[in-house]
């Protein structure tokens, strides 16, 4: 399984954010997307997730499921948590597990992985920022998708949760998954390659 | 008691009133037992009111 970007260009509002970006990522590999503020780290991830049109160049995922789109095989963890405050923790997770992936997945392992199992019946409105973040990380576990696109995944997480997230990411890589993470600092993956995005 | 030619309307108004008040009472009673049950569950899980730090940790 391999994700390749060939001569990618991103234009937003008439401004070229980045251009001529080349990268390739194979199963079991992680890539850190680094760069200054406004360099286009988030734009790159959103482009791979299919949320921004590709202005020029090509994106390819080979070796995945033949009839699924690239976006359909990717998880996107953005700045927002995509949680509904009136639904309970387990209802929120159940919905995204059903909608994004395999519908029969059990939720307990995913909730246990982010240490939220005791709060399963609590409405999401009661969660703190860190707990909300962890619940949206649980989504990555509950629905199986090979490519993880993580935008500042460690924000709002305490040290212990960051370690847990690093463990989850290592498990995902060991299972042949791929990770692209936009980050300013280390996220606990030793063998991650670095992709530097720089504006024109 | 003779209710005259409009007995239906009289009976209907009393029935509607009983129904509305009855559902109000049912809602209040069911709500009460539901809140009591949730409170009981939370207390069973070891959550105590106004004991953020002093309460002993039971996990």
């Amino acid at each position: 399984m391999q994700l390749t970007g060939d001569n990618l260009t991103c234009q937003r509002g008439g401004r070229t954010v980045f251009s001529g970006l080349n990268f390739s990522l194979s199963g079991g590999e992680a890539m850190m997307v680094t760069g200054r503020n406004g360099a286009g780290k988030s734009s790159l991830l959103r482009m791979i997730a299919g949320l921004i049109c590709i202005s020029a160049g090509r994106l390819d995922l080979s070796g995945g499921e033949p009839d699924a789109t690239l976006a359909g095989q990717a998880h996107y963890l953005g700045h927002q948590d995509a949680l509904k405050p009136s639904l309970s923790v387990s209802e929120n997770l159940r919905f995204w597990a059903d909608f994004l992936g395999n519908s029969d997945a059990t939720l307990e392992p995913a909730l246990a992985a982010v240490d939220l199992a005791p709060l399963a019946d609590l409405p999401a409105a009661y969660l703190s920022a860190g707990q909300r973040r962890r619940l949206s990380i649980a989504r990555l576990i509950a629905a199986k998708r090979p490519l993880w696109l993580l935008d500042e995944p460690t924000s709002a997480l305490d040290v212990q949760s960051q370690d847990r997230l690093a463990g989850l990411m290592r498990d995902h890589l060991a299972g042949g998954g791929m990770i692209m993470a936009a980050t300013h600092g280390p996220i606990g993956l030793e063998r991650a390659r670095e992709l530097k995005v720089s504006p024109e | 008691m003779n209710l005259g030619p409009h007995a239906d309307f009289i009976i209907a108004s009393y029935a509607v009133t009983v129904f509305v008040i009855g559902s109000l009472i049912a809602w209040i009673v069911l709500d009460y037992s539901a809140q009591r049950r949730i409170l009981g569950n939370l207390e069973d899980q070891g959550v105590t009111r106004r004991s953020r730090r002093t309460g002993k940790d039971e996990r």
Binding site: L122 | F9, I10, S13, V16, V20, I21, W27, I28, V47
Partner: protein, 246 residues
């Protein structure tokens, strides 16, 4: 209503637990007495037996206005004195008031059919009650939409006060609108002098409705206090879990 010495919700709960059975029993007794009197009350010489609907319609109308009065006092308590129980009192009163207004509208409509030949006439009093019903629904919608109970009750308190100022103006405007258009000949309800054989059951029923209101109101306040307790305990639960991990 005693306000100062009930400041502590726990003490209020214990008082409610003690008072509620008696209040409920008194309500049932008064209603039984009132209904017995209604059975034996004479028919109106013009309206016949349909006057029996009045024993529901008129007390419900009184109560729906009294309930807004209770909400107004509670609103002052929320906004001016910041009394913890007044939030609860205001929120508990709103659905009960809406229910009484609804009863008033339905019985009015059922009374109207034999008297006017149609279920609904845009008569000044009924129309004012309809506007009051809409105001109640607005307050309920506000409570329903606000996820944070504190903010919701302050917003509803402001709406209750604005409503209290507005209700007389609405009533005046509706009466003006009604006379302006001179509707088809209306039957005037109730004369200037009501016969005691009708007045006494009416007053008894009004007393029964008032007792019913307070019974329901106290029970609903108790529910609301418990609901807030559940909320604060859940917040503590989420927080304790966060602390247990560090």
């Amino acid at each position: 209503m005693p306000i100062i010495d009930l400041a502590n919700p726990t003490r209020f709960l214990s008082i409610v637990n003690r008072v509620l059975p008696w209040l409920a029993a008194a309500t049932v007794l008064v209603f039984a007495f009132g209904l017995a009197r209604i059975m034996n009350a004479p028919d109106d010489y013009q309206q016949g037996a349909t006057v029996k609907i009045m024993y529901l319609h008129v007390p419900a109308a009184w109560l729906s206005m009294m309930c807004w009065g209770v909400m107004t006092v509670a609103a002052l308590g929320t906004l001016v004195w910041r009394h913890p129980l007044s939030d609860v009192a205001g929120k508990a009163a709103a659905p009960i008031g809406a229910a009484f207004t609804f009863i008033c509208l339905i019985t009015g409509s059922l009374w109207g059919r034999p008297t006017w030949g149609t279920y609904w006439v845009w008569d000044a009093r009924l129309t004012s009650m309809l506007v009051l019903f809409l105001l109640y629904l607005g307050v309920l919608a506000l409570y329903w939409t606000a996820e944070d109970p504190g903010r919701g009750s302050r917003a509803a308190a402001i709406l209750a006060l604005v409503g209290a100022i507005n209700i007389p103006i609405i009533k005046f405007s509706v009466e003006y609108w009604n006379t302006l258009h001179q509707p088809a000949s209306l039957f005037r309800r109730g004369g200037s002098a009501i016969d005691p054989s009708i007045l006494i059951p009416l007053l008894v029923m009004a007393g029964g409705f008032t007792l019913l209101f307070f019974t329901l109101h106290f029970a609903a306040m108790r529910n609301e206090i418990l609901r807030r307790r559940v909320r604060s305990m859940r917040l503590i639960q989420a927080q304790e879990l966060a602390e247990a991990r560090t």
